[in-house]
């Protein structure tokens, strides 16, 4: 077991998400204090108790709505400490059938997966730069690599977020700011978001695998990670299918 990293803090944005909680567990196991931020954060008392009992680290709860842009500065400023690591697990995956038919649904999907997370990371990044250290971890998706009929509204929002993370990483690295950005493209994960879908077992990670992978990526300063290595191959293939063929596929 690693020695506890006493005095370090991680912020989880979208802390009701099982992926977000798994990341919290992975860092708590190494001694990080935990800030759980979510909508209706008061309902996360059981999750807070769970982390405190298992890992004996302090846990605080914070209210955040990614779509309340005007409140982003105040939210970050109101945290008990600017975290060393911030992870954004915020996202929605609406039904593609609804998104296709409704402008409102499409806009909500784009904002929840892209604009909200980008807004929060803008505030956090600038404060981390001012401090001179930090890591930002964005949970994006392989769905953003290439738009598919099955979920292109979600996918395009994630594509936007992925590009945002890549650009932010470039800016912070060039400026030698001490702040690092990790992009996570998890592939399928067995969570509430995918409940009821028939997912191939070999391609589907458990939330705990994502938690462990994020810990490793932050430790090693990795840039872009897939959780299960097989996704690297799958996406290599998908990227290289010519558009004339791709547009006729149902994948």
């Amino acid at each position: 077991m690693t020695t506890p990293a006493i005095g370090k803090t991680i912020l989880i944005l979208g802390a009701r998400s099982e992926i977000g909680l798994a990341v919290a567990h992975a860092f708590a196991a190494r001694g990080y204090a935990i800030q759980l931020a979510a909508r209706n954060a008061a309902a996360l008392e059981a999750e807070k108790a769970d982390i405190e009992v298992r890992f004996r680290v302090p846990v605080t709860l914070h209210e955040v709505d990614a779509l309340d842009f005007a409140a982003h500065e105040a939210f970050v400023g109101g945290l008990p400490a600017l975290p060393d690591v911030a992870v954004c697990a915020i996202g929605t995956m609406g039904a593609q059938a609804d998104n296709e038919q409704s402008v409102e649904a499409t806009v909500m999907e784009l904002r929840s997966n892209f604009e909200g997370p980008a807004g929060l990371f803008t505030v956090l990044a600038n404060r981390m730069v001012a401090r001179g250290s930090g890591a930002l971890v964005g949970i994006s998706s392989v769905a953003g690599v290439r738009g598919r009929a099955a979920n292109y509204v979600y996918g395009s929002a994630k594509a936007g977020f992925t590009a945002f993370l890549s650009g932010l990483r470039n800016r912070l690295a060039k400026g030698k700011t001490g702040v690092h950005v990790v992009t996570v493209l998890p592939g399928f994960v067995n969570t509430r978001m995918t409940a009821g879908m028939d997912l191939p077992a070999k391609l589907t990670a458990e939330p705990a695998e994502v938690g462990a992978a994020v810990w490793k990526a932050v430790e090693r300063g990795r840039n872009v990670i897939y959780v299960r290595p097989i996704w690297q191959i799958v996406m290599l293939v998908i990227r290289h299918i010519p558009e004339t063929i791709f547009k006729k596929l149902s994948i």
């Binding site: 077991m1 099982e18 059981a46 108790a49 769970d50 009992v53 298992r54």
Partner: protein
């Protein structure tokens, strides 16, 4: 979704949902008959609900720990593996544990599981301070030895048929280390194995492996294994560097469905190595880590695939003390003759058990695996008769074959259990394939 128990038989199409909080679990219960499912380690059909199965594994939060008393309050989906990971390094171990740590608290309570210390410490219910149970009316009740003790008694060992266990408080055992002092003694036959158990009532843990191929004068040839939690002072230099066994061997996964022969030859080899080798090991005494001692099979993930596609079942019965020798002799003869069982069976002395519908009784329990084949049901019929004739009973957490009649013949408590289910309104609300088969 097609579901099965650990034995992969039977497989049934079940509607499965995975509540993530208590409100969601309550809403699912209100919608129609359900059965709770933990980690699916019961062998047969106990955790299969065709109309609705509640996968409880997301209700897995630890809520409080009292480190003076060693009492953990947790949701029902927490597994003993998690309890060990968190609390062994702080000097606590489950007070009662079955032969796999991949069971949930809900499953351990519902089957009132027993461990190698049953003769001394009783079944899992003996370490349960209270349970929060979601009943047929949607209300959550706290039940314990003092609050609604009747319902508490029926729920421990009630196989999920009294309601959904949401949370529980369990008492852990203080230990100085994660190591076990084991003493293995070969017993050339059943009589000497029983004598060894009877002489070892003071041992914290006791269990025996029986060689099921040995007939005639060697019938019941076994290795009796006793264990104690090692103190710090008893550790050697190697173990002292890692008193709570944080460095674990990595578990391996069985990659594909396995031919039966491979398994039998593996276990034959392991048995013989110990049986003939014990003399050489320091009078049979050794220090082994808790995982190898309690959970040897957990090191091989998905080992149930070893039995191949058609699945397997486990036969486990308990016989009252006075009838144990005769009953076990008859069972072992029938098994040896059939040539169908796995090579090894597990024998264990059980202590007195008070609860309403739990499996254990004072006497001897025998458990062994059978691959599902054409003759399996017939052999089980024969074993059932022997058990009933000797006043024994069957473990529902392992069973997939028993008939409602055989259950009632073996266990007069079954009729009371069914009456309780009718009277409390639980019968139409909590339904599993097992409750239908056994008409509970």
């Amino acid at each position: 979704m097609i579901l099965s128990g650990w034995g992969r038989y039977p497989r049934l199409e079940c509607a499965v949902s995975r509540p993530r909080d208590i409100a969601a679990a309550a809403a699912l219960c209100a919608a129609g008959p359900v059965i709770a499912r933990g980690n699916g380690r019961a062998y047969g059909d106990a955790a299969l609900g065709v109309p609705a199965t509640l996968d409880m594994r997301s209700l897995n939060r630890m809520l409080a720990f009292d480190d003076a008393a060693g009492v953990l309050v947790a949701e029902a989906g927490v597994t003993l593996a998690e309890v060990i990971d968190v609390f062994l390094p702080r000097g606590w171990f489950p007070a009662v544990t079955p032969g796999t740590r991949f069971v949930t608290l809900g499953g351990a309570i519902a089957a009132d599981v027993h461990g190698k210390n049953h003769h001394k410490d009783g079944a899992f219910s003996s370490c349960v301070e209270w349970i929060e149970l979601l009943g047929p009316d949607g209300a959550v009740r706290r039940v314990s030895l003092t609050e609604q003790p009747e319902l508490f008694g029926w729920t421990c060992g009630g196989m999920g048929l009294t309601g959904v266990i949401l949370r529980a408080a369990i008492r852990l055992r203080a230990v100085e280390t994660g190591w076990i002092r084991q003493r293995a003694t070969p017993a050339p036959g059943l009589k000497s194995a029983i004598e060894l158990f009877e002489a070892s009532a003071e041992a914290t843990y006791s269990v025996a492996w029986i060689d099921c191929m040995a007939g005639g004068g060697s019938l019941g040839r076994s290795i009796v294994m006793l264990g104690e939690h090692a103190t710090r002072a008893e550790l050697g230099a190697d173990q002292r560097a890692d008193p709570f066994v944080r460095k674990r061997k990595r578990a391996k996964t069985v990659p594909f469905d396995f031919p039966q022969i491979a398994l039998n030859s593996l276990s034959v080899r392991a048995f013989n190595q110990i049986y003939y080798g014990v003399g050489a090991w320091n009078a049979g005494e050794s220090l082994i880590d808790f995982a190898s001692y309690f959970y040897p099979l957990d090191a091989l993930l998905e080992w149930n695939r070893i039995y191949g596609r058609s699945g397997f079942t486990q036969f486990q019965c308990v016989l009252p003390l006075a009838a144990s020798f005769d009953g076990l002799t008859a069972l072992l003869r029938a098994i040896t003759k059939s040539g169908q069982g796995s090579f090894l069976a597990v024998l264990k002395r059980m202590g007195v058990q008070q609860s309403r519908f739990s499996f254990p009784m004072e006497g001897y329990t025998l458990a062994l695996d059978f691959p599902i084949r054409r003759g399996t049901a017939a052999l089980f019929g024969e074993l059932e008769r022997i058990v009933i004739d000797h006043g024994g009973r069957f473990y529902l957490a392992k069973d997939a074959f028993l008939s409602a009649q055989a259950l009632r013949a073996a266990d007069p408590r079954a009729a009371d259990f069914a009456t309780m289910r009718a009277d409390t309104g639980t019968a139409p609300r909590f339904i599993s394939a097992l409750s239908e088969r056994l008409q509970l």
